[in-house]
Symmetry: C2
Subunit: 457 residues, 2 copies
């Protein structure tokens, strides 16, 4: 392709067609087959991105942005070939505006990198998917994590974006002000669009003040139902939980296998409280009072920073610990991601467990349950058609259940390749308006083709 | 017009071309000339709205939705004639899902109506523009109010919408779940779109638990600069203020004139703290410590419910109290609405005061300063071309200043008729993508034509 030659010339060492680089970006952490791009571009500036887009647009070559490639629905895979636009070198923190509680970052900055750079400021960025994802990728998937129950998701934590659109135009959306009623909300239109509407080249993200005091705790319950009912009441009472995470007995087993966590293999909640010292004590006491009604046991506090870090490191490793319940390189993990109204959470989780048992599905359950969001991590053999079918059936039934309960098929992982089949059921006639946006913004369909929108009209 | 005859027949008493009804909807609280619609429709159901839209679409007749008509940029005025779609009769609270902290309402429900209906539940809806606006209108203008500093704006408080699109299609956006990564964010695209992309027929809004304890207070400062610097530090320290409102000396004068408030005519902050009883005491003490550094005086607490109600009623009357600084039916009020990063707030407010003085502009200043948002309420004579020019110049300079400081020309009032002239300066090349959305969603341009997007391409 001539266009790739032009790119090679213009970008020099920021362009390659080498097999190893392409193979690197062809992989995913979930269960999708590898997908090789034709070339990899590592932009260092917005202009590099714009040039790449202009060149590809002229030749109709697909462009698939890539952060760290941790997305779980195959979002970053170049399934139609073309250019993998890899943001790993566009990873500078441009400004920390401590006095305005925001930071301006390039999209390749990862969440831990940003928090490392913020350490001296007393501020932090609260969105924490298990992986050390890039902020560009997190924005593009509308990611969240354990602290969304307190601070919201990427949807609530971005003030402004710079983006390169499908014809190479560079736009800015939003401002540094905390709110605005000026015009259509293009910022939110780009957040969650999985690189299909525009390519994010800069983000202004909100920062939070480090709380004066933090306390974490774990506790266990006899049943998942008890644990979830405790969560429901906690949220309904308006307790400002910083984190409230469910791990079921199988997930604990995975932690024990992977990390010798030494936890009793029963459902647990992992908790965090933040506030003033008095506030934290108050909150923990209120939580324990609620939890007593659900037979809470084994209350263990972790106040020392290193104990808390160890606790959340364990939790963030859930995806890998899931592998430990059925180890072996031949197996893959499909992570479901339903999110339901909090009042329906116990029904959803217990139905999921029952279904798994009945269908013979081997899975962990772990969830950001304060948001009504939980994942079944299903281990299956992709070469066994029966297992593949059962896994898909299980995921499909769970998706259906979530919609019946007034929820969504994906709380935070996004649509990508894996969940397009549910788009029509979730959105009905609204889907046509999503297609209209795509057609208006990317008429050639070169931005991450094959993702988010199901084929057809 | 035949189409209007068809509507008359189909809608019966829900349709009129009577002069008085049309004149009623032709007015505004700001400074725009009256604009008469050709007819008024009072839908009672989504189907009424869809039928109206289908009929108008077939005949190319404009439709301008109307809540209570309190918008301040002429948004609800039928400047191109056609149908004024008046939601005052579509005002039922459909469901209060206390266990999920949300409510499902029709668009004509007003904020005080909703809170009245919520009283027994221990929950409340926190967005409170000064006017008793409709939730449909508030969503459409991306409104906020005094509590946005704590709870966010309409942007953060809507889970799901039902809307009738320009061809009569009924869509649903969002779900009852607290978060979702499924598809493009049409909910946020409709929020703030001023009825130009779709007509909202139902909203699912988030509710908040009534705080255990609430305390309000007023205090005064020697200068606006001291007051604002106190606000800046308070926000930067992360104090979770429920309300923090600036009123300058002229605004206090207005309150004294209108409501015999008996306040010393000096800059004031009006404050509210919410939380547990200990939390509220802690917060108030922390605030006073900060305020001491800025020479705070006259600290007056209001803990009794009726005192707090009186305080916020006074504040919510600011628009009318502004009239009192230059009374007379011949004068109108232009309210500016810039919003800047918090670190730039003192510069913005003092520059505004200086400019007003130098230009001979008569105005109050009042603001949701915790968000960096403040209003100059300029009293002017619309029949005096000099005053009109000076008022426009003043507003224009302030808008320019806000953009220079990294802010927005409108924090909460929206664009409507009055701020289209700043759209290009604020959005640059992004404006073309707003136009693309409009063209894709409403190719005929029948939804609230003449609003939000400036003429041209
Ligand atoms: C162990 C593990 C735990 C996880 N836990 C969570 C969790 O708790 N919560 C959660 O939400 N997710 C979680 N995930 C999923 C994943 O981390 C998120 O989806 C994350 O947001 C992806 O970021 P990334 O940098 O890896 O993006 P990638 O996977 O590289 O890309 C994701 C999508 O974003 C697009 N994209 C990337 N950069 C840009 C850009 N600059 N402009 C436009 N589009 C762009 C890509 O094209 C793709 O569509 C987890 C994944 C793993 C492996
Ligand atoms: C005294 C006073 C104080 C105010 N204080 C504030 C404040 O503190 N904060 C603030 O944000 N605003 C404030 N405002 C402005 C005003 O209250 C808000 O803009 C409010 O959101 C308008 O609501 P409404 O019901 O009056 O809508 P309208 O004025 O009737 O309409 C506003 C816009 O919304 C559209 N619209 C209405 N209903 C629908 C629907 N169902 N579907 C689609 N579009 C619809 C209309 O077409 C129009 O474009 C104040 C106004 C006054 C008069």
């Amino acid at each position: 392709m001539d266009a790739l030659k032009d790119l090679a010339e213009a970008l020099g060492p920021r362009f390659t067609t080498s097999e190893s680089a392409r193979a690197q970006n062809a992989r995913n952490e979930a269960h999708f087959p590898d997908a090789m791009p034709d070339a990899v571009v590592w932009p260092e500036t917005t202009e590099d991105v714009a040039l790449t887009v202009r060149t590809c647009a002229a030749a109709g070559i697909p462009i698939t942005p890539l952060g760290v490639g941790s997305s779980l629905e195959g979002q970053h895979l170049a399934v139609k070939g073309g250019v993998s636009l890899d943001f790993s070198r566009m990873n500078k923190v441009r400004a920390v505006n401590a006095e305005d509680l925001n930071a301006v970052v390039q999209p390749g900055v990862t969440r831990t990198q940003l928090n490392d750079e913020l350490r001296a400021t007393g501020l932090f960025f609260p969105i924490d998917p298990g992986a050390d994802a890039s902020l560009g990728g997190m924005a593009a998937t509308r990611a969240s994590g354990t602290m969304a129950v307190r601070y919201g998701t990427m949807r609530e934590n971005i003030l402004a974006l710079e983006a390169v659109m499908a014809d190479g135009t560079v736009i800015r959306t939003g401002t540094q002000a905390r709110k605005s009623s000026s015009g259509y909300d293009l910022t939110h239109l780009l957040i969650g669009s999985e690189g299909t509407l525009g390519i994010i080249t800069e983000l202004t993200v909100k920062l939070q003040g480090q709380p004066e005091a933090t306390a974490a705790a774990t506790c266990r319950f006899d049943s998942v139902e008890d644990a979830v009912n405790c969560v429901i009441l906690t949220i309904q009472c308006g307790l400002p939980m910083a984190r409230i995470e469910l791990v079921d007995e199988m997930m604990v087993h995975g932690f024990n296998e992977m990390a010798e966590a030494g936890l009793p293999e029963k459902p647990h909640l992992f908790l965090e409280f933040q506030g003033t010292p008095t506030g934290v004590t108050e909150q923990a006491a209120m939580f324990r009072e609620i939890a007593e009604d659900f037979g809470v046991q084994d209350w263990k506090e972790a106040t020392a920073t290193e104990d808390r870090t160890a606790l959340w490191k364990l939790r963030h490793g859930a995806h890998y610990a899931t592998a430990a319940i059925r180890p072996g390189p031949q197996f893959r993990t499909l992570a479901t991601d339903v999110c339901v109204p909090i009042s329906k959470l116990a029904e959803a989780v217990t139905t999921a467990q029952d279904m798994a048992r009945k269908m013979g599905v081997i899975c962990t359950i772990v969830g950001h349950v304060g948001d009504g969001n939980f994942h079944c991590g299903v281990r299956f053999d992709p070469d066994d058609p029966n297992e593949v079918q059962t896994t898909q059936d299980f995921a499909g039934k769970l998706a259906e259940l979530a919609l019946t309960l007034g929820g969504t098929v994906t709380g935070e992982h996004g649509i990508g390749l894996g969940k397009q089949k549910y788009m029509s059921a979730e959105h009905g006639p609204a889907l046509a308006y999503m297609r209209a946006v795509k057609a208006a913004f990317d008429p050639q369909g070169i931005l991450n083709p094959g993702k988010l929108l199901p084929p057809g009209n």
